[in-house]
Symmetry: C2
Amino acid sequence: MSEQLHLTHVKPEDIEATSFEIISRELGPLDLDPQTELVVKRVIHTTADFDYAKTLTFTAHAVERGVEALRNGATVITDTSMVAAGINKRVLGSFGGQVCTFIADADVAAEAKRRGLTRSAVSMERAAQLPGTLVFAIGNAPTALVSLARMLNDGSLPRPALIIGVPVGFVNVVESKELIMATDVESIVARGRKGGSNVAAAIVNALLYLASGNRRE
Amino acid sequence: MSEQLHLTHVKPEDIEATSFEIISRELGPLDLDPQTELVVKRVIHTTADFDYAKTLTFTAHAVERGVEALRNGATVITDTSMVAAGINKRVLGSFGGQVCTFIADADVAAEAKRRGLTRSAVSMERAAQLPGTLVFAIGNAPTALVSLARMLNDGSLPRPALIIGVPVGFVNVVESKELIMATDVESIVARGRKGGSNVAAAIVNALLYLASGNRRE
């Protein structure tokens, strides 16, 4: 097949390294610490969208606390099964951590309907009951972030190690991210409308690879 | 919490409709048939990235054939578990269809290593053995598209109803999409570097909602 001759010959194991080289070259130098820079580059690797170099916003110790929590076996709460599917469970499990998602639970749907809330909002209330250190990875539902902000403010959510707030969309998405940034919890937020399940999973994975001492497993 | 006063009050069930109104307003009129237009808008709904209005490329009967295949219970092959997680299995299952993903199979990993291929490429060879009508939804691996193009050209892949080719990335991604567009199979491709698991799932879901006669289930 002659078209294949135009494909760059890169071994499967080298594709990621080559991709990161291209990203680094096109991005140029960033005014970030090396660990935060790797998180930004992994999101660009996942999306091919360089906007994230401008929109990703980190509190002072977000990456450090996230890495530390994951290394100590924190539970990762996601708002969708898609975020959960994208997280490297092998590395997470090697630290004793696991992923929890309540969105598909039948009783969550019933309660959400009864109270006129989204299932995502009710899911976060369920997550607030979990023991241990929590890392939230929200890639879809702004109402999940609104619920987290409300519970942080009224004291019903014990302080999580980190909130990754990267929902995507057009209604209350921008505002929900600003709400999280107004709390005093460590957060990684993609300001603006963009984000997604893939972005949330990429950030968790970047932290996991940092926790395991490799850029990638 | 005073910040919440700034949130727009939209009922959970109205968020999607409001989002589509905003997308339609910002996009302006598109020179597309109404069904194709809904696919484009659902991808923008999933990504908040209006670039897709320019990069999504449809063969003449791609949407029609995809909808028809799904309505008749086609099997959807994905390259990652994340694409699989994002597909509305309730609607797919209502037509008798299911999702198949081979990427996590132990024997696929072993064969890929032995042959110096990616697991994605070997996964596509497994999929080619499946009976019935197939729809491919590739959101991550350019090598999956290269494998599909090779098998179409050498006749080892029976003609699928549709290939959704939206991998994301920096190495061979652009080229792999052009390879698929050079075949005579119906395809929906996001030209360029951008795409992703979320985009692949969104396109399948858009076709499922069209198949079920609703914009959304």
